[in-house]
Symmetry: C2
């Protein structure tokens, strides 16, 4: 098997790690969003601020809908994005093979 | 002048009453919305509930955008809608001529 094929496949352990990390990242990101909305709503004094919350929710809903793509061919990109945005650390992905980790790490810096 | 033409025109006093009533109705409706969102946000426990708030805000923003139409030919319809939804009372429109009041009242029951 060539290196390319090895990097592309995800074994059972890697899939388990991926699901667990995705779940944790989603929880962190959504809890942060809920806290942010709670704070904005409790400090709002006018409708302009309520529409700002609406704009934030529209953007985040769209963002979250696309970002947590757990299809195998997309996982490297999903993790790179989450790493870039600070929702996960590279250490949490320990257990993935080193070629995947290197790819995720370098994509996250783009 | 025919009754139709009389009903269609809005004199200075009627315009002043209209603007004042529209402003009050808008304030009531938006304060109610802000209170409702505050309550939902402070009671939410999961993301599903946050997206429900987003859906509510999307619907209300669209609704409010169209509803407070203060162009003269639309005022009768605007007031009928606000009356129907309970944001104003017919008494608050005292000072408009009786033909307009009758029209608003009957449209509000449709």
């Amino acid at each position: 098997m060539s290196t390319t094929i090895t990097t592309a496949g995800w074994n059972h352990t890697e899939i388990e790690i991926s699901h667990s990390v995705l779940q944790k990242a989603y929880q962190r990101e959504t809890e942060t969003l809920m806290a942010q909305v709670r704070s904005q709503i409790n400090n709002m004094t006018d409708m302009q601020q309520l529409w700002q919350v609406h704009d934030l929710l529209s953007a985040k809903r769209y963002d979250l809908d696309g970002k947590y793509d757990n299809r195998e061919p997309m996982l490297v990109f999903t993790f790179a994005q989450l790493l870039k945005e600070g929702w996960i650390s590279l250490e949490e992905l320990n257990g993935l093979d080193s070629a995947k980790l290197a790819k995720i790490s370098s994509l996250s810096k783009m």
